[in-house]
Symmetry: C2
Subunit: 154 residues, 2 copies
DNA sequence: TAGGACCTTGGAGTGCGCTCCAAGCAAGGA
DNA sequence: TCCTTGCTTGGAGCGCACTCCAAGGTCCTA
């Protein structure tokens, strides 16, 4: 019977950590499910990342099963960060291609990262603006709540 | 021939303002295309927002055309802010329902806004973490670029 | 040697947030 | 009167980022 590959944490009501566990040290070969547990991604998503070119070549065992290494986990950490910025997967694939193409793409990678950095800064500013609006609304409702409460107690 | 309702700004390479224009004062009736220009949303999206219950009832002209009022634009401003936080449309619809249901939903609205506020704060923290990673990468590439340049000039 | 957990693949399906289409109505100018 | 422009509707389509399925092979423990 095929086991359903359930999503780790990240679903449901409670706020779990963004990724399951800390990486055990001294290890440098991980199965896909271990990586899923470590990153919070599903095995499906890991295979999909590979298919679309977002991952470098992943080592295989003699029977063809994936064996991820620490450098792959490092890459996934970066991908996770970039994903948080809202960067489209296609852009991350582009970055991955640049890395694969070698040292002569340093300048382009540099530019891409700087542009992303600017995006993140803009996003933070946006969110701070939104926070201000929320705070105004919240204090309005807090006041309204107090008014209703005092009305009820009268 | 039906005119194609092109998206205003927001597309393409250059970074325009998040919404087209400032609201003219003294006016309190706007056609859908005026609202599209003011908010940066398409007319399609405005109609869709109405269909899914994200908008309050919009006034109509004697021939059935939408006539938005300033309070509708205020609401759209809030929706725009909430959208920036990544709040799902379904949650915004829920908030809109609470508003329609009247004063006895103040407590729930308050809770929803506070939860959103927490999400936004968490998001900002995440982004700042990502910024740190980007800055490390960027300084790495800056150094690598300098090294390559000095190598070339040797 | 069995049994169950885990892995493989290509391709199809899902949910979200729009985005567009077709067919038609209404208003205003030449 | 015609023509253009802009508006109306329900429903279909799209792009993204997964998410899952079916059918089968492998690993591990007993």
């Amino acid at each position: 019977m095929t086991v359903t590959e359930t999503t780790t944490t990240r679903a449901g009501g409670c706020a779990g950590p963004p990724q399951g566990n800390r990486r055990p040290d001294g290890q440098d070969r991980y199965t896909i499910s271990e990586v899923a547990a470590l990153t919070g991604l599903t095995a499906h998503t890991l295979r999909w990342y590979e298919r679309i070119g977002l991952m470098p070549h992943i080592d295989r065992s003699h029977t063809g099963q994936r064996r991820y290494r620490n450098r792959d986990l490092d890459w996934l950490d970066l991908v996770g960060k970039l994903r948080l910025t809202g960067m489209p997967v296609a852009d991350m694939v582009r970055y991955a291609e640049l890395v694969r193409e070698g040292d002569h793409t340093y300048a382009e990678r540099f530019a891409l990262l700087k542009a992303t950095r600017e995006d993140v800064l803009a996003r933070i500013t946006e969110l701070q603006g939104t926070l201000a609006v929320l705070d105004r609304k919240i204090s309005f409702y807090a006041d309204a709540g107090r008014a209703l409460a005092s009305e009820r107690s009268r």
